[in-house]
């Protein structure tokens, strides 16, 4: 009794259009490229005096954050507003579910408000997936981070960053450094990079933070910076949470910085024109030295500005996928 599984059964319409955005896993190169192209087109609108486009006019987007994140929530809010949607921010972390209301109760209540899209952030892996399976047809779910599983909009803005700075993703060697075990960003990046034709994806860190099974996802496991950064085109540093020390995963911040912190010296292992990225917020002196974070190879601030465009792209594509599916079903 083996069970076949494909995430696209949930996130794509029958004719292969995006209707939810839950994970980069399993999406085609064409679809990921369409997201990047659409985001590119929005970047030019962001440079205009009037930044709004009417693609989501009359639609209601709910920011459903079960885990606090002012930064990510703000970029989604701005993206929705620039698409002319009405936006409702619900800080569930501090309200409903803490009063004993179940996740299902919360969803039913929100559906009663005739929402069109939920942007979901939750501490449990698979939460966005679960919600997408439970909501009424027609409501689009955008995953803004679920546990350790996926953070697909962050990964796509990183892809956009690489494409804009390196010209293309094909042929690039990319090292992702740090706490891979707990990182939803790393997982989403690996799927996207492999599909978009990166030459090699490396994950670098001590064995306590880099599961060897990452190899099954197509990443090469490196335990040392000397080999991990050798001749790479892109270095992505991940944030290190303080609780990793108390969980006995690492001895100290100082030892971590010494071995895995990105300094100018370690960066010389990479290609001379390599770029340095970080999904933020950065811990200066823990995973990255200030000289590198602010140096001329760093594109960290550009990443932030691409975030809004990528979220606009994904939101408009998912909404039009939902619309297409409704029309298709109505015509049957």
């Amino acid at each position: 009794m083996q069970i076949q599984y494909n995430p696209n059964q949930v996130q794509l319409t029958k004719d292969g259009r995006l209707k939810h955005f839950l994970t980069t896993e399993g999406l085609s190169k064409e679809l990921l490229t369409e997201i990047l192209d659409t985001a590119d087109s929005f970047i030019s609108t962001q440079e205009r005096a009037v930044k709004k486009v009417p693609l989501l006019r009359g639609k209601t987007v709910v920011n459903l954050f079960f885990e606090n994140s002012t930064r990510t929530r703000s970029t989604f809010e701005l993206a929705a507003k620039r698409l002319s949607a009405d936006i409702l921010n619900l800080d569930i972390a501090r309200s409903a579910t803490s009063k004993g209301e179940t996740l299902m109760d919360t969803l039913w209540n929100l559906e009663a408000m005739y929402s069109d899209m939920f942007v979901v952030r939750h501490a449990h892996s698979g939460a966005a997936h679960f919600i997408a399976e439970q909501v009424t047809p027609g409501v689009a779910i955008i995953n803004a981070g679920d546990g350790r599983h996926a953070h697909p909009t962050q990964a796509m803005l990183d892809m956009l960053t690489i494409r804009r700075h390196k010209g293309q993703i094909e042929g690039q060697t990319v090292a992702i450094v740090g706490d891979i075990l707990h990182s939803r960003v790393a997982r989403s990046q690996i799927h996207a990079l492999k599909t978009l034709g990166a030459k090699e994806v490396r994950v670098v860190g001590p064995a306590t933070l880099v599961p060897k099974e990452m190899a099954d996802m197509g990443a090469k496991v490196h335990y040392h910076m000397e080999t991990g950064l050798k001749d790479v085109d892109v270095v992505i540093m991940l944030r290190l949470q303080k609780e990793r020390m108390s969980d006995a995963l690492l001895p100290s911040e100082a030892e971590y910085f010494k071995l895995y912190g990105l300094t100018e010296e370690k960066l010389t292992l990479a290609k001379p024109d390599a770029i340095v990225m970080h999904p933020g917020p950065i811990n200066r002196g823990v995973e990255i030295d200030s000289a590198v974070a602010d140096g001329n190879q760093s594109v960290i601030l550009n990443q932030v500005s691409y975030g809004i465009a990528v979220r606009m792209a994904v939101m408009s594509m998912a909404m039009s996928g939902q619309q297409a599916e409704r029309e298709q079903e109505a015509s049957v």
Binding site: Q2, I3, T102, L103, S125, G126, R148, H149, P211
Partner: protein, 408 residues
């Protein structure tokens, strides 16, 4: 009614085509029906010894005993964390009387091994056995340390009590939700390494050897544990083990898509583990148990981490078991693993022979059925085969000659 005759059936390991039952005991094989007997036409179905289930949680003795009989089970052991909790002689009396009153599968309660299942103090072990417990277990709750483990084994050995243990090192299992492996890594779900099971099992085997206690290991899940049990038995240690049927049917791949139906303890492991467990069943080393745990829908409708663990198995136990014929197991080997092996562990008998208790199940292998929610007699239908086609159907289950379930 004291006399029953099942005609026109195929009896496992016998050329006879009928069985006669008098006063709860098999009185003849292949004889004509006595004049006063109630005759049941077996319609060519397969007659097997009634299944004996070593472990299920029953939140309601009546419904779960009916579900068990529906699934071909004549005798079932209920876990001590059932309702009521099996921790005092009065609870045992109430469980046994609920079982008798229901008249479905016979319930043999597993009593608590430690006080309130806290793993710190010994329960009144002798008193619980005297009140009618078949053996003692700590459900899936941890024993505080190896010293308490040693003492409870020594005390149990003193009174010749069988102890049921679940091997899991709590620290290594930590917040794990599924088997540690590539699927867990990809899904971002915390993993339970196989060493969480094997390290705890190694301690239990060594202490069983030290104390001479009769130990039964509930639900092993990995290949290495099968080898450890085989080796311990060869060294003469009084140890036995079972595997939950879910671990024979599914692997960690089933968790893809975050289907909380497959959130079970112990976790579904890799294909090589499943193959080793199947081999253990084939050689007669392992019993197969239901590890049944019924839930209302709301308990499973949550994110994977927030869902309750467990599968509802009882109603469909025999058809699920028989589906393992596709894995190179014969009907005789499967019946052995779900009836004769558990009978030996519990000190009961299981055989279709004259003079033996009439615990029997009549199974129509040809019939296809699809179980919807209403078909589950259990209080929960949290089953992966809910609304899925299922080969084979139980026609009749007898417990000591009494009809525990009959298809209407």
């Amino acid at each position: 009614m004291t006399s029953l005759h099942i005609s026109n059936c195929r009896i496992l390991n016998s050329d006879a085509t009928s069985v006669t039952i008098e006063n709860g005991v098999i009185s003849a094989l292949g004889a004509d029906a006595p004049t006063n007997a109630e005759v049941i036409d077996g319609k060519g179905a397969l007659l097997l010894p009634g299944l004996i289930d070593l472990y299920s949680k029953a939140n309601n003795i009546a419904t779960e005993a009916q579900a068990a009989a529906h699934g071909g089970i004549s005798i079932m052991c209920t876990s001590p964390d059932s309702k009521p909790m099996a921790e005092a002689p009065a609870d045992i009396k109430s469980i046994l009387s609920a079982s008798d009153k229901t008249g479905a599968a016979k319930v043999l309660p597993l009593g608590t091994l430690t006080s309130e299942l806290k793993g710190e103090q010994l329960a009144n072990m002798h008193g619980l056995i005297e009140a009618g417990c078949i053996a003692l277990s700590n459900a899936r709750q941890p024993i505080k340390n190896t010293l308490v483990m040693r003492r409870l084994m020594e005390y149990a050995a003193t009174h010749n009590i069988t102890v049921f243990l679940t091997p899991q090192d709590q620290a290594l299992a930590a917040n794990g939700l599924m088997h540690e492996g590539p699927t867990a890594t990809r899904l971002g779900l915390a993993g339970i390494p196989e060493t969480a099971e094997t390290i705890a099992l190694a301690q239990q085997i060594l202490l069983a050897e030290l104390t001479g206690c009769k130990v039964h290991i509930s639900h092993i899940s990995c290949a290495r544990a099968v080898d450890m049990i085989r080796d311990a038995k060869q060294r003469g240690i009084q140890i036995s083990a079972d595997v939950a049927i879910a671990n024979l049917l599914y692997t960690d791949q089933a968790v893809n898509g975050y289907n909380s139906c497959f959130y079970v303890e112990p976790p579904l492991r890799a294909e090589q583990d499943r193959q080793a467990l199947l081999a253990g069943v084939k050689e007669g080393l392992l019993a197969v148990s239901s590890n049944h745990k019924a839930h209302e829908q709301a308990d499973k409708k949550a994110t994977f981490a927030d869902a309750e663990t467990g599968m509802s198995i009882l109603d469909t136990f025999l058809p699920m078991l028989m589906s393992l014929q596709a894995e190179d197991l014969t009907v005789a080997e499967l019946a052995n693993a779900a009836s004769a092996v558990p009978a030996a562990i519990l000190g009961l008998e299981s055989a279709i022979e004259t003079g033996k208790a009439a615990n029997l199940v009549l199974f129509n292998e040809e019939e296809k059925q699809t179980c919807s929610e209403q078909d589950f007699l259990s209080s929960g239908s949290n089953s992966p085969i809910l609304n899925q086609p299922l080969q084979g159907q139980v026609l009749l289950t007898l417990t000591k000659g009494e009809i525990a379930y009959q298809l209407s």
